[in-house]
Symmetry: C2
Subunit: 281 residues, 2 copies
Amino acid sequence: MKILKSISEVRRVVNNNKNKQIGFVPTMGFLHEGHLSLIKKAREENELVFVSIFVNPTQFGENEDLDSYPRDLERDSNLCLNAGVDYIFLPNANEMYGENFSTFVQVDKLREGLCGKSRPVHFNGVCTVVTKLFNIVKPNKAYFGEKDAQQLAIIKRLVKDLNIDVEIIGCPIVREEDGLAKSSRNSYLSERERIEARVLSMGLKKCKALLESGERDVQALKKVIEEEINKAESSKIDYIEIVDSESLQEVETVKNKILVAIAVFIGKTRLIDNFTFEGEK
Amino acid sequence: MKILKSISEVRRVVNNNKNKQIGFVPTMGFLHEGHLSLIKKAREENELVFVSIFVNPTQFGENEDLDSYPRDLERDSNLCLNAGVDYIFLPNANEMYGENFSTFVQVDKLREGLCGKSRPVHFNGVCTVVTKLFNIVKPNKAYFGEKDAQQLAIIKRLVKDLNIDVEIIGCPIVREEDGLAKSSRNSYLSERERIEARVLSMGLKKCKALLESGERDVQALKKVIEEEINKAESSKIDYIEIVDSESLQEVETVKNKILVAIAVFIGKTRLIDNFTFEGEK
């Protein structure tokens, strides 16, 4: 495994391997089993596997956790090495955003609801950096977690709209034993918050059970989640939304494929979780 | 020479020629000698030459000339054939902008002055379609006319910022015998307007002579252009600007490399012209 810090080094490797199938896992580092499941899939399906580790400043809002975002390069490299990664792309912010940088990529509509409400610049930052990374690594397939459901929908739209020649693969959420979705941000939680944080997955579980029992009313479905989350003293709901899984537009009753998505502050830590459900056609 | 109408046909050709050097000339058709000079250069420098012909709706403002923009595919194909083009990519708007299209690419700062003032959506449309075309054709080199000086500066910035792996080549303005810069829009001019239209290049010529004689005051330089253009009864100045050739920011005195750029309505037809000048360092 090699660590490449400059764009030109990556270009050289990519140009020397034009006929090889490249799988790519873009990350912000502090890898957990969610990331490792993406890497595992990339390893199975490709000849070369690239992982990028870049805490992208443009996707953080002014009052968000850019500076405190957890980093542990040594641990990350060992995990990548053991997972059979061929190259880690590890640029710094200056390598990615040089002097007079002035371009951005935006996906309208999809970016507006859900996390876009409380994080208005977030998805422009994501789209811009992902477009850049795709142009640098030129992967055949790229792997993203379904935990970031809105991000996944936006990136699929972006790739389709801009005709980027890459296949986007979504991979299932990986969870802790008590159901909490794996996230680098879980490391922010105090011991007590960590215990309380299970209300996110519990709320979703109860909502899913209700759906499976036939409930189709969105208000009733949201209510069961809300009640569960409010059991945690440290919780504050950012949103509970039930939307069409592709357009991300709110639905009134459950038809077609829906996404049930939530964002909740546990103390100061903002966590997200979701599941999809195939309603009647 | 083959005409390809679908993105998937282009993909197939490009994937079958992965190791060939591809030169690309994106156009809106109604080709003139300006375009042909780009194609000639592309032919000299590459193994395969692609020309796209697409009157891109997203770069026209609401009251602009999208519907009346001149088209003559038969003439264009003959010109391309004679110029040794290998493939014309001729998509329709639906092929380029399918259902629920919602992505755009924007270059800030550079897009704001000059033509950006009277054409606020224009360069977002250009950047978005050029990004798409680059992702479809995957050229090694792409050729643009220096007549569209702001467009060229923006595309260079876009390619650098988004790490698109293509070399952008600017080619000199081609002119009619009386100095008028070649443009598809010249076909809109009445006989009388056509004669009056030479004030654009005449104004620039006088400005250049003044620069060469040592004048460095921007107001004086602009004035000589203004006076020349006002000689034409049908003329109405959109802008006369002297800017840094890279940042496109207005300058007060002439230093480094400047761009002298003008946009003038001759009757209802908006024409542009420019030249660059290397001031003292």
